[in-house]
Symmetry: C2
Subunit: 252 residues, 2 copies
């Protein structure tokens, strides 16, 4: 790509939008400039542009994003067949298991939820399509990282903030790489309260007809009701069933 094939004003504007996610809903020009590491004058122009287009409100002091911003993410969710394809299968899976079922893909060091069928709320955080979790300590994340080559996975771990969320959280890269190897061999990943106390989950990869992993699906359950040791026998058959039902639908 040539230098001139890059619209830096556009790139700067996207950076400004993302700055809102990192903090609160209201940002002053100076705050946005600090977060984005852009010049105040430049950020101001981007924010005024967002306001002019209705993507943001401006009260003379603070900018806030408006729901119109959701059109951008929605452009992906409605345009990509994967979420719509997975949804009915997740509904069925969730109903059979009596627990929440989700699907996600990898984006950098995070997994991003692209579809979800929730039964009852067991997590303290609220997950919807677009929600993100660190890949290294999520069952779907383990499955998606396991699908990469070891050097790719190691590179992502190196960029990840390997935080000790609970006493169970594995944060040693070598240990994680070894776990990915096991996941590849056995075809599933189980998380026992590594993200949040009280929450277990089990995930399997979703492959297309070329054998490329395009997403992961999981079932999450409260540890109090379903001990990690029982996750496999209870839910792996259901997950495998869903996995098999999806395979022929995923032409690349």
């Amino acid at each position: 790509m040539r230098e001139t094939d890059f619209v830096s004003g556009f790139a700067r504007g996207l950076k400004v939008i993302e700055a809102f996610g990192e903090t609160r809903q209201r940002l002053s020009i100076a705050e946005a400039a600090k977060l984005t590491e852009l010049d105040r004058a430049t950020v101001r122009r981007s924010l005024l542009t967002l306001a002019e287009l209705g993507y943001a409100d401006y009260d003379g002091k603070f900018f806030t994003l408006t729901p119109k911003i959701l059109r951008l993410g929605h452009a992906y969710l409605s345009a990509t067949p994967l979420p719509a394809l997975l949804q009915p299968h997740l509904d069925l899976l969730s109903e059979k298991a009596g627990q929440s079922a989700s699907a996600s893909v990898l984006d950098g060091t995070d997994i991003v939820y692209i579809a979800r069928a929730s039964q009852r709320r067991v997590m303290s955080i609220n997950l919807t399509p677009g929600s993100r979790l660190p890949a290294y300590c999520a069952s779907m994340g383990r499955v998606l990282l396991a699908a990469l080559t070891e050097s790719e996975a190691r590179a992502i771990l190196a960029r990840s903030e390997l935080k000790q969320n609970t006493a169970n959280t594995r944060t040693d890269p070598d240990e994680l790489i070894a776990e990915f190897r096991r996941v590849r061999t056995e075809g599933y990943a189980i998380i026992d309260q590594e993200l949040e106390i009280g929450l277990c989950s089990i995930a399997v990869p979703i492959d297309n007809d070329r054998g490329e992993t395009v997403a992961a699906i999981n079932i999450g359950a409260p540890a109090a009701l379903v001990p990690a040791a029982e996750m496999k026998e209870r839910y792996l058959p259901l997950l495998k069933e869903t996995q098999a039902a999806l395979r022929p639908l995923l032409r690349r």
Copy 2:
């Protein structure tokens, strides 16, 4: 705002992202140019910028959005307190009613879902935060339009594509304006299969402590199980209860 406070490269780029929502997942440069009514060279630069930043993939012929684009909408959902504030109340409401409960705000002629607690799937379409429905034929839309002045509401109806989705759909602006007046007086709106055959819903406004309507919440139910005539007695008390519980929480 001065002419020079507008970054047209940024505005053009956002238009390009939205173009993906209107059709399928893959867009060529020429297709995107047609949809956005921008110059091909401009669209090409925007798309290459998106690809360079990882928001899009490019195979040399077609561009597709990547899940990274969800970061933009997520910047709103995670930055705005309203969705997180409403979610637990919707969960409770949904459980008490045994039906799906949702919250939405107005964006132009559409309502945009910002939170949802689904019980079982009754609609053919899959609703998640970010999903949009035309306001004129949705119960939450009626409530949100009723909160505007009549001239504002009329202006939005004038811009809406008043489509006859089912035999029940009301499409006459004067009739709709009269219905808004009733909604304002009685404090709720009921939709009887105007959007989709088999689906009824009832909505109430959510006001902040200044009495400004900031969102709407609803309960949707299959018409086969809950006739429209029963919606009010069954669900209005639950909705009013949730509405009252939320009021003190909504400081502006």
